[in-house]
Subunit: 331 residues, 2 copies
DNA sequence: CTGAAAGCGCTTACAG
DNA sequence: CTGAAAGCGCTTACAG
């Protein structure tokens, strides 16, 4: 038993396919009685328009791709920012009657597949999520002519509009907060430097320290908890006297807290810790984490909504969201 | 400049559309020289087959829907299990050359949309992720005739095959571990009881306590950290003497740990805590969390692979994955 | 306001 | 092995 077609509905209702199509698509130029009889036939047969046929003729798909850079196979990140962004964007897209195609762009070959996929006309537009700077995908996608936007500023400027946190401002506030407390040896755990967010947060750290007579103490992480724990160990080796750490995201701050605990350092008495992002987990660390966040209510939803607006408008105006420090107990 | 079509490639290569189609689809019955000349035309024109046209004629879409039950708007969960599952499944699907359509099924109207969406033939199959028992969606989807599988056992039996942890066994091990330590007053924080995972874990808790002379002490949570924190507060009120808690997932255990810390109870000396899932964060609590996990390497990937195999095979055999307890410091 | 016709861009029997 | 033709299920000018 195959699904009924437009044709079957027309036959059942005794009208032309054109009329059925008009009713289905809610066009106003249809006589009420025709609409009635068509609707009756539609429900009677359980008719649902075939998506592929519709896409083919309208040259639109009503679907937007969310393209997430995926870490190499094996490694499975549970960064909550990923879930928040995908979830918020999906919700908004569906509210707008659009479908979402989730595409992971990790390996080389998957990247080629993404390109083909977009070229095949499967989607009307795409939103990139936190691509790293070395990824060639943004440039490729920008060249397809499809509307694209980026969640997070890209290394290569001008490729597409983006929405991002004020990473410079936020990191500055974090370090300034540590300075205001009179901390003397302030270290930082940086994110991976091929990501602009990590670059900006590190830059702000350095700039803010400049002129205070303090030297930079830097360890490199990759935005995961474990990397934060390891970086903290290294920092402790490098400078056992350090009395503050600014971690470039909360996950690494959580890792750093564990290392400090294992090393017998009290937080914040011996070492103050500040993170970045204000993820949910920051409320549950011991002690609760002082961190930086974008202040407009639900951060992820706000950001993704702006992004989707950019996508819809075809606007080229990027936006930077302000940040604020959230002082809890760790610093 | 619109994208080139099959027709254009055929014209360029001086062959029929049939031949071009055959080459594109890798059919063996094509003369080598024809293949050559067609491939040349394809690359020259940058031809990529139109997806909608292909879907229409083949009646297949090569895309699988991942349907996630979404909490009501406003509430944004950052449960890492969500991210892990979606990510693992996406990766495997893409490796198999399939596209993934992410659909959030939260509200009533979104549910209607999901139904329409599947009925419109947009996907070849669907994987449901942790539906709660009151959700009518599984029954509806099962009736569409589309291949569907469920990540997690459904309340209504027989609707579709599923893959799930051995929740009964895992929870039994957790509670038994507490008994083995000689804990006398063992409480539990249950998940939402419209989910089978929560039901099973609570059942196992009760059964394991039965006959040990201990009474059940139960508080209800909803698998979020905050609910775990609140449930723990209530348990402490109900029975200030309790010396152990089994939280039905790690997130709630994390919440419970915070409450215990605030109440000045030492873990595990005063109160032992065991969670369930073994999420990454369980390694970073203070103290590190004793919990239950599925033992086969990367849990999410293993589970989703089984699920996708079921989907591909059209098999009706559900599978239950064994669990083991991971003893760390909290109990 | 309604219907007949063309066409979206492919694949697939069917002849040859 | 190759090509002409039909057809997948819709939408959309175009007449009327």
């Amino acid at each position: 038993m195959r699904r009924p077609t437009l044709h079957a509905v027309a036959a059942r209702a005794g009208v032309s396919k054109s009329s059925v199509s008009r009713v289905i698509n809610g066009e106003p130029t249809v006589a009420p009685e025709i609409r009635q009889i068509v609707m009756a036939a539609v429900t009677e047969l359980g008719y649902v328009p075939n998506g592929a046929a519709r896409n083919l003729v309208t040259q639109r798909t009503n679907t937007i791709a969310i393209i997430v850079s995926d870490p190499p196979a094996g490694l499975v990140s549970d960064d909550p920012m990923f879930a928040m962004v995908v979830r918020a964007a999906s919700r908004q897209l569906e509210a707008a009657g659009k479908q979402v195609s989730l595409v992971l762009a990790g390996s080389e070959e998957s990247r080629a597949r993404v390109e083909q996929y977009l070229a095949a006309g499967h989607v009307d537009g795409a939103m990139l999520v936190s691509m790293d700077g070395s990824d060639p995908l943004p440039a490729v996608l920008a060249r397809t002519g499809l509307p694209v936007v980026s969640h997070g500023r890209l290394s290569a400027p001008g490729l597409m509009p983006y929405v991002d946190n004020d990473n410079l401002g936020g990191a500055t506030k974090a370090v300034q907060h540590l300075l205001d407390q009179g901390r003397q040896r302030i270290a930082t755990i940086s994110g991976p430097l091929d990501m602009t967010a990590a670059q900006d947060r590190l830059t702000a750290y350095r700039e803010t320290l400049k002129g205070t007579g303090r030297r930079s103490i830097v360890a490199l992480g990759d935005f995961t908890r474990i990397s934060g724990a390891e970086a903290m160990r290294q920092l402790l080796d490098d400078d056992p006297q350090l009395d503050a750490v600014f971690a470039a995201n909360d996950l690494m701050a959580i890792g750093a807290l564990r290392t400090l605990r294992e090393a017998g350092r009290r937080v914040p008495e011996d070492v103050a810790v500040v993170g970045f992002d204000d993820i949910e987990a920051a409320l549950y660390t011991a002690p609760p984490l002082t961190t930086v966040r974008s202040p407009m209510g639900d951060q992820a939803a706000r950001t993704t909504q702006l992004l989707l607006d950019l996508l819809a408008n075809g606007s080229a105006e990027s936006v930077i969201l302000p940040t604020e420090i959230v002082v809890r107990e760790s610093a």
